[in-house]
Symmetry: C2
Subunit: 427 residues, 2 copies
């Protein structure tokens, strides 16, 4: 047996540097919990690093190193991350990763390989930053029939939405502010188009229902075309706009979506600001269980990775890692996914209509024809001379019916001046 738990780190960016820092600062805490010191033996990165004595250029050299017990993958993306994880498991290494993209896409292959090789892969940092929701869902709520998972799962978009709400600035200005604060990358596409949230929702849903829920089964809409006007109007209606990943068990299948949603000012999600994340899990017996904490930033992400390293090391020390599978991926379980058109919700609709008689009756006529029922109708005070803003809150309605109605309204140039805005009302 080695004197140390030897760790090979692949990826030495912001989070990787945070991991090294926390392992150094909290080495006594780690030693007490693991019983052996944890040592970073090698670091692999494309560029040379500030610790030349640990530097390894090729990840294969880390995988080949017989002294290394545990490989931490922090490069993100699909490849070579997938190869590193799979090859590490096959070489008898345990793995810690924060990579939601690779897990969501290769769930089947990764957990089947881990099970076949009797090795462990921990991935708490892949969802919700520092929030221990992976374990909370898979172990804390192990006994539960899960009915719903709803989450603010992306720190970047939540920071942008907070900026828009607090300062009344438009999307572009808020994005710039997030970039300046270090909460958005130079290319923020994966965050703002909702894909990152969808990856995380796929992971939580796969854990909750035992089948591999794929990102392609999730209806995804990001925040980049969100109009500041709608943020301000909905504020007055008592709502905040949040990007929510939602998975709901219905009798016809799991209803999966990522989209900007309106949440009531007095709902717990409304108080989740800036880079914070929150996940609400509803079980049949447990009721609502909420987890909340920082979803982005160097230290919170690195903290979750180091916790995984410590927890996994306890099993490595006792030669028990990988014996109990981390994910029971049972291919016989087939979970039905609800077609997104069948999803039911209330919606906020904003119509920029031509201000002349008969328009309102045409709109309500078309909505009625498609069985979209109106809960309230308000004329917004932001109107100019020949154009009025009408806000409609609908009752619960089937999404495909609503979309058919809006398509017909949008196509009728004598009614609306621009495309109707539609935002789901979550709570």
């Amino acid at each position: 047996m080695n004197k140390y738990i030897n760790v090979g780190l692949v990826g030495y960016g912001t989070v990787g540097k945070g991991v090294v820092k926390i392992l150094e600062e909290n080495k006594k805490i780690a030693l007490r919990k693991v019983g052996k010191p944890i040592r970073i033996k090698s670091i692999c990165d494309l560029r040379s690093i500030d610790k030349p004595e640990l530097y390894v250029k090729n990840f294969k050299d880390i995988i080949k190193d017989p002294e290394i017990d545990l490989i931490v993958e922090l490069i993100g993306g699909y490849e070579p991350a997938r190869t590193i994880i799979i090859e590490a498991l096959k070489a008898g290494k345990n793995v810690v990763t924060a990579n939601k993209a690779v897990l969501a896409k290769y769930w089947d292959q990764i957990f089947t390989t881990a099970q076949d090789c009797q090795k462990s892969i921990y991935y708490e940092a892949s969802v919700g930053g520092v929030i221990p929701v992976v374990q909370g869902l898979s172990e804390g709520l192990a006994s539960e029939e899960i009915l719903e998972i709803k989450g603010i799962l992306n720190g970047t978009t939540n920071f942008i939405l907070s900026e828009m709400t607090k300062n009344g600035v438009n999307y572009e200005a808020a994005l710039k502010s997030a970039q300046n604060s270090g909460f958005a990358e130079a290319d923020p596409s994966f965050d703002v188009n909702g894909i990152d949230t969808a990856n995380k929702l796929a992971i939580l849903s796969s854990l909750a229902w035992g089948d591999w829920i794929k990102v392609k089964d999730i209806s995804v809409k990001g925040i980049s075309d969100l109009d500041i006007e709608d943020v301000l109007i909905t504020q007055n209606f008592g709502y905040d706009v949040k990007l929510i990943g939602s998975a709901e068990k219905t009798k016809d299948g799991i209803d999966l979506s990522v989209q900007p949603c309106l949440v009531n000012h007095d709902h717990a999600f409304a108080t989740v600001e800036n880079e914070y994340n929150a996940v609400m899990i509803t079980g049949k017996d447990s009721g609502d269980v909420l987890f909340y904490g920082k979803g982005a930033g160097q230290q919170p992400a690195a903290s979750a990775v180091v916790s995984d390293i410590i927890n996994l090391s306890k099993f490595i020390v006792t030669n028990t890692a990988g014996i109990v599978p981390d994910v029971v991926y049972d291919k016989r379980i087939k979970i039905k996914v609800l077609h997104s058109g069948k999803s039911k919700a209330s919606y906020y609709l904003r119509f920029s209509i031509l201000d002349k008689p008969g328009v309102l009756s045409k709109i309500s006529g078309i909505l009625g024809k498609f069985k979209v029922s109106i809960a309230s109708l308000t004329q917004s005070d932001i109107s100019d001379n020949d154009c009025a803003q009408i806000i409609i809150i609908t009752h619960k309605t089937c999404r495909e019916n609503l979309e058919k109605a809006l398509k017909q309204i949008n196509a009728t140039k004598s009614i609306v001046k621009s495309k109707v805005v539609k935002i789901k009302i979550e709570i």
Copy 2:
């Protein structure tokens, strides 16, 4: 190997019945996760039960049964719970318990025995009901230097405080309402006097700092002498009253207390109502992490117990239970506890003073003498002819100084008509 995971249940009250029900209803979920069916083989209770085929009168018969893998202790209290747990571990059984009292009091003995016998003891249901905070703290935040733990940890008292706040009723009426709703027992002493919260705080603190933090080290005050008048006055100041268990790392030791506290309306704790619990853990790198869910009630408590049974069974099936210790109880670690008098906080003070000249200057003079600095002073509108109500909010002050000042004020009959009310301001 047995065909089943055989469970022996000791204690067939509300939670015990819930455990049997959930294990039956969710047996497919459990089977998928464990790989073997979980079966309740025996149930021990003082009274005969509705399942005579499983009934065992003496717990020793369950401990002696070689087929039983796991014993679930749900009788509560110190004895015979302690004996059952210790004897079960010594007989080679793994244990699940929801018993915070026995854990807090015999932490040392229980975890040393478990470690010596290489058996596991799971106790997620002992703190926070359905909230997976034991695991969240000990594993999810394994890497963290924990700075603070604050929690609403008792469903009964939170239900009572919610009733007082919502309905403006006094403590006795609110207690009756909690009893009628099934959220308070006929004898609610352990809940309302803060001992139950102190037990849970001791468990969380012991996990956080690696030494056995004892209940006797915690300064405990319950809610039974809380005056509805103060609930109503503080509402107008923007506060809610909550019973909070608090453990704070200071440079002079851990500051541990349980007491009714004022929390700001916009703090997450203010939205925790009725039987819900919440725990906020602050780590150096993680920042604030919040857990929230139902802290009382049959199904939530039973759900947490069944999750423990499932998680522990995964290790029993693979013969790995107890190899990794559940609590690393390191006797070399000595955590210093702060003397409660040295604790620093802001306070709400209500003085029922004799309405005559010079009284206010006497009060502020005495406070000043003991270095208690006043942040604001208001005369409440609830005053009668010869008596005025004065509300003082203090700056952060050392508790023993404040107590000395109040002792002197209370002793001066020419100043106050009744004892000064003092409530800590938490946030």
